[in-house]
């Protein structure tokens, strides 16, 4: 703050409180709705404070789910989402670490060619080439499997690009020192480069975990078997019930459960998250 303007400070706080209200309100009301019995919600004027059905509603959702529509219990959806998000995050980090290492620390024929093949994928989100990618995955018999859910999403150059940028800032003297001490390329990677990249890996993990958890279109297409339903797409099946009002208390309880894990990651690792976000994009 440059000068003291009490009125402007007051306005600033007012605007920020308004912003927080807009941002938090939908989540708060979702939580409130998930703690009431269904009859409390159909009147149009929904309550603004939590009801007394928290335990019952969440028990119902987690344990049985909406059995009538043939859906699996929500704990299984949470499990599927977790596996998918972890596969995507860990797979992406592992693959891009070693490929960035190869690109930065080695000279070999076709290096530039490989570089461009990989970096061209920076431009093409999965959504754009969704139909042919689906055909490729189905011809590889990867429908309804965790491999099919995660491997096609692992292939993107953002993580490789980030690690490449980071490796380029690592001083050359480290390589020279390592070589004088008789360390080969694998030893250097394992004992020097990996420990140096620890913060970057953690920051990237936060971003990729959220990216994986929030996938929607891809799981929707390639899982026709209900047992692979992830939670984000599971909600869609609960909302679009034919010719009936959705069971909002169940839907909102599921929504809250779907938001909690990534929210916990964002809030718990806020500093890493902001770092990861700003660095992957720039």
């Amino acid at each position: 703050m440059v000068e003291n303007r009490p009125f402007f400070t007051f306005v600033a706080h007012f605007v920020l409180l308004l912003g927080v209200a807009i941002v938090v309100l939908p989540l708060w009301l979702a939580f409130v709705a998930s703690t009431h019995e269904p009859s409390a919600l159909i009147t149009g004027l929904m309550p603004l404070i939590p009801g007394d059905r928290l335990v019952e509603n969440y028990e119902l959702v987690l344990g049985e789910g909406v059995a009538a529509s043939g859906a699996i219990p929500v704990w299984k959806m949470l499990f599927n989402s977790l596996v998918m998000a972890l596969c995507i995050a860990i797979g992406k980090i592992a693959i891009s670490l070693i490929s960035a290492y190869a690109i930065v620390y080695f000279r070999f024929p076709f290096r530039t060619f490989c570089f461009w093949i990989i970096f061209i994928t920076l431009m093409l989100p999965v959504e754009v080439r969704i139909v042919p990618t689906f055909e490729v995955v189905s011809s590889l018999n990867m429908l309804n499997s965790f491999a099919g859910l995660s491997v096609p999403l692992i292939a993107s150059a953002t993580a490789t690009f980030l690690f490449r940028q980071f490796f380029l800032t690592v001083p050359d003297e480290l390589v020279e020192a390592a070589r004088i001490d008789g360390a080969g390329p694998w030893r250097f990677f394992q004992d020097i480069l990996l420990p140096l990249s620890r913060t970057n890996i953690a920051a990237l993990f936060v971003i990729l975990f959220i990216y994986g958890w929030n996938q929607y279109l891809w799981p929707l297409l390639i899982t026709t078997d209900q047992s692979f339903t992830t939670i984000v797409m599971g909600i869609q099946r609960m909302v679009t019930v034919a010719d009936a009002e959705p069971q909002w208390h169940v839907v909102m309880a599921t929504a809250v459960l779907a938001v909690l894990p990534p929210l916990a990651v964002v809030l718990g690792m806020q500093r890493l998250f902001v770092k990861g976000l700003v660095e992957t994009e720039k």
Binding site: V15, I95, S99, P125, D172, E176, Y216, V259
Partner: protein
């Protein structure tokens, strides 16, 4: 950029680059090539015969008033989402940069929506704006507005714009705040000594210095509105009522998986690829040059 010191090894670099290269070729290059190839083919109604038709799919596409409508609708949608989320994020960031007390708390609360999946964001607002149970719909009806996103296309559009913009506010906020905090205090103080008030300082110093961030966010937000909002739309309005919330990406999905019109869907994919590549090129060129005054 290249390293001065490198390792020499015959097999290791290939071994290291192989996994990523294999996945890229199988799941990126091959499907993209397939899309281009299929966009030049046409199948008969029973899927028995396929023949080469050249650019006919593209000609039909751009002669189709439905597609042109979708194109304009997507543009309007993207511009609305981008403006709404960027303007509110800029406002919050400037205010959060100004206050001292509680700044961290505000920041922590404002980044929540980043964790929410686009589809879930859609469902949350769908619930609030639902004509029979939603509290905001109740308020609107109380004000005498006949709100019904099930029947009215404009209402449905407003709903998906709000849900999409809401999700993106936190992202824009973080980048604007980082940009604001990178501006040297001495510049602002010098202007204040010269008698410039907060508004004057914002427009003649802060905003121009923020232009690289703004431009970067502009491209990111347009790409987000084009592609990532599929979940928001699919989980709520399903492109309707009628065609009123069908965007380009929704149409690719609809024509390809529901309508099973592969030729047209592939041609639409190719058009989208060209749009993304164009946006990326624009972004790289301007970031090189750095938007500045």
């Amino acid at each position: 950029m290249q390293k001065r010191v490198t390792f020499r090894h015959l097999t290791l670099p290939y071994l290291f680059i192989l996994p990523q290269l294999a996945i890229t070729i199988v799941f990126f290059i091959w499907p993209a090539g397939e899309a281009i190839y299929q966009s030049l083919l046409r199948q008969d109604a029973f899927g028995l015969n396929t023949r080469f038709v050249g650019f006919e799919n593209f000609e039909r596409l751009f002669a189709d008033p439905l597609y042109i409508d979708t194109l304009w609708r997507t543009l309007g949608f993207s511009v609305s989402v981008t403006l709404l989320s960027m303007l509110s994020a800029l406002l919050f960031a400037v205010m959060a940069d100004h206050v001292i007390r509680g700044a961290t708390t505000y920041k922590t609360l404002l980044i929540w929506p980043y964790a929410v999946a686009p589809a879930i964001a859609g469902v949350l607002w769908w619930f609030l704006f639902n004509p029979s149970v939603g509290i905001l719909a109740y308020l609107l009806q109380g004000l005498g507005y006949d709100w019904n996103p099930f029947l009215d296309g404009d209402d449905a559009m407003i709903l998906v714009v709000i849900a999409s913009a809401w999700k993106q506010v936190s992202y824009n906020f973080l980048f604007f705040l980082a940009g604001l905090q990178a501006i040297p205090r001495s510049l602002i103080e010098a202007a204040a000594i010269d008698g410039a008030g907060p508004v004057k300082r914002f427009w003649s110093i802060v905003f121009p210095l923020l232009s690289p961030t703004t431009f970067f966010l502009l491209v990111v937000n347009v790409v987000y509105a084009f592609f990532d909002t599929f979940g928001t739309i699919h989980a709520t309005t399903s492109g309707g009522p009628g065609q009123s919330t069908t965007t380009l990406i929704y149409k690719v999905f609809n024509d390809g998986f529901i309508g099973l019109n592969y030729g047209s869907s592939a041609a639409q994919s190719v058009v989208l690829m060209i749009i993304v590549i164009g946006l990326t090129v624009v972004q790289f060129r301007y970031i090189e040059r750095r938007v500045h005054y």
